[in-house]
Subunit: 215 residues, 4 copies
Amino acid sequence: MQVTKTARKPGRALTPEERQTKTQQLLDAALDVFLERGFEAARLDEVAKRAGVAKGTLYLYFASKEALFEDLIRSLIASPIQEVGQRMLAQDIPAEMMLRGLLNWAKKEVLGTRRKDIARLIISEAGRFPELGAFYHREVISRGTAVIRAIVTRGVERGEFTSDALDRFPQLLIAPVLVGIIWNGLFSHVETLDTDGLLDVHADLIIRGLKGGAA
Amino acid sequence: MQVTKTARKPGRALTPEERQTKTQQLLDAALDVFLERGFEAARLDEVAKRAGVAKGTLYLYFASKEALFEDLIRSLIASPIQEVGQRMLAQDIPAEMMLRGLLNWAKKEVLGTRRKDIARLIISEAGRFPELGAFYHREVISRGTAVIRAIVTRGVERGEFTSDALDRFPQLLIAPVLVGIIWNGLFSHVETLDTDGLLDVHADLIIRGLKGGAA
Amino acid sequence: MQVTKTARKPGRALTPEERQTKTQQLLDAALDVFLERGFEAARLDEVAKRAGVAKGTLYLYFASKEALFEDLIRSLIASPIQEVGQRMLAQDIPAEMMLRGLLNWAKKEVLGTRRKDIARLIISEAGRFPELGAFYHREVISRGTAVIRAIVTRGVERGEFTSDALDRFPQLLIAPVLVGIIWNGLFSHVETLDTDGLLDVHADLIIRGLKGGAA
Amino acid sequence: MQVTKTARKPGRALTPEERQTKTQQLLDAALDVFLERGFEAARLDEVAKRAGVAKGTLYLYFASKEALFEDLIRSLIASPIQEVGQRMLAQDIPAEMMLRGLLNWAKKEVLGTRRKDIARLIISEAGRFPELGAFYHREVISRGTAVIRAIVTRGVERGEFTSDALDRFPQLLIAPVLVGIIWNGLFSHVETLDTDGLLDVHADLIIRGLKGGAA
DNA sequence: AATGAATGAGTGTTCATTCAT
DNA sequence: TATGAATGAACACTCATTCAT
């Protein structure tokens, strides 16, 4: 997580890109510290040190610790999930493959990247930042559930699925993703969870459940 | 929340039971405050006030804020899940019913009580208390997974289940419980999740998955 | 201005008098520092040091720097002027003697005590504390002007004075008191002003003015 | 307040007049801010913004905030009072008229202009700038008192005045000017003082006092 | 045993000052 | 000459911890 120290230029105006770059460096450092310590325990001194700037510099980019935290979360919550969903739905493949595609995407793009850390940060802290919770719900959660519902509905219409369980509770599809994130956040030192295997088995199980038998 | 003010004894010596009772009062007050604010933001002033004692008194019972927090979590992590599991296994009922029984127990005894809040506290804070994570894993998680595995194994042996998915990843059974806890912790103001419905549908789905069809 | 260090008693509850005494010690220290540096430049560290307490202790007695300042001013603005005025008016002496009595009182009780410093503090800072200005006006100024007016009115009624100048502008009586305060606050190193002489001459001059001649 | 933005010359060398002009612009902006906030609370950011320059530019013209303040006060303390006094003394008019002329000048040129604010600034802040106090005394006060003394002496010599009160304490003449300045600085929201009336009545009263009767 | 006043290190934040451009 | 981004010491205020009573 070392920050590539850009040459110090106390002088002339920053171009928008330079400012953007610097902002990103600060956010990177902030993410590290917030992840390690949580919002309250995170020290701006530490953030500044890791970003290689003076503490005062932070305030040229963010109005307060809280603003830094919120900007951080916002900047990280791009919601590519919707795009993935659209791509899936655009193809003419079985709904089953769509759901598997979604979970594979989660394996690669969430559990395999920093996004999992961000999710953990949100899970830990959003309780005390209600606006942030609402924001996350609007930008990520509601879009994700919409995509899942669309896929399942199509699967039911086409006769692939006999159950509308995921239409009623799309959360069931991503529940194991959450478990993976939390588990490895809390217990990785004790017993690492093979999240890829977890999601593979989950996919099989839930697909079987949706296709159902006599039940 | 409820401070049963015991008569103040300015004098000498507490019997072990008295000390036990007082300790419990302090822990009760501490739980409230830690739940509302999280570890860092929790104020010992507030804990003392709610317990109806002076701040200094806390230090007669707990060595530090951190010790208080850890003692609190430890005291809360009794692991009734194992007992429930044993009770299930002791009966001669289908494995399916055992799994459903486990989820119903979770509905009533976790999501329906303060245990859900405690779980959320652990999820939020245990990252910074590695020992506590290990402790929780040992006392609760590993026992829970053992119970699930035992049930599933029996189900497979008896021919009820065709899949050993839950033997490999028992986490899949309780994943929706976690989702329920987190969701209502973060988004209840925006969109409340019907956790009972969630778990019912989950039960149906996973049982169907385990029983499998042609697959 | 050394504070008489009371024995440190970190222990049991303070009696109201003890608390009162301590509060007074803190206010004494605060007055010194505010006088030397002004509100903004005054350092609470310095106040605490002079009072012989830790910085945090200040906050057990005052909610903030601003509250400390306001409490300080309030505690200092007892308004004995009214009492003096009443005493004067109760006697059956010439109005001239009353005015002289007032100015002598100012010499002794204002210019000769810390009250002059307080006045200077108010003059310097009240511009940024409007409430304090209003408070001072209500508690001190308006009462003082009322007393002066009462005396002058009586003087006119009794035929002692031919001019009602001080009834219209009672400020003219105390203007030299202000000058004395400010002068010695600003120029005492350069040229000390004999404020006693100033007020004596002022008394003579204004009395002559009020008694008037043909003019 | 009014920022006459001079054309930016990114290039070289300022003529002495240009430098002079710019310096004046900075001082103008500084005066506004110091008047509004006082020395400590004044922000150089604000000064720079109002002057339409970058904060760093201030340091090309003034060595520090303190130097800026002192230069500002120095630049404002031109002492027209002496000139007025000389003009008075040059005329062959009664000393009474000279004193009245002085007070009328104060009404128009001090209380009626920004000079009153500057005086208040000095009164409030000079306590912490001893050099400034000495400078002000030398440039303004001593000259003013000299003028008053000269007038009164002439008045006594010519038999106009029977009292040398103002020779001993020339401060008595300008005391009400001070009161006017301070009063309206502190209490104008509560009770505005009619400073013109105040000085008129003061003039009458003091003249009568100086002319005296039997006394 | 219980108190609660006292402590003081530590935090977020500000702002006069610097200096590479 | 002018800039303005960067600095970092300094401050008001907090709060876990201590200890004389």
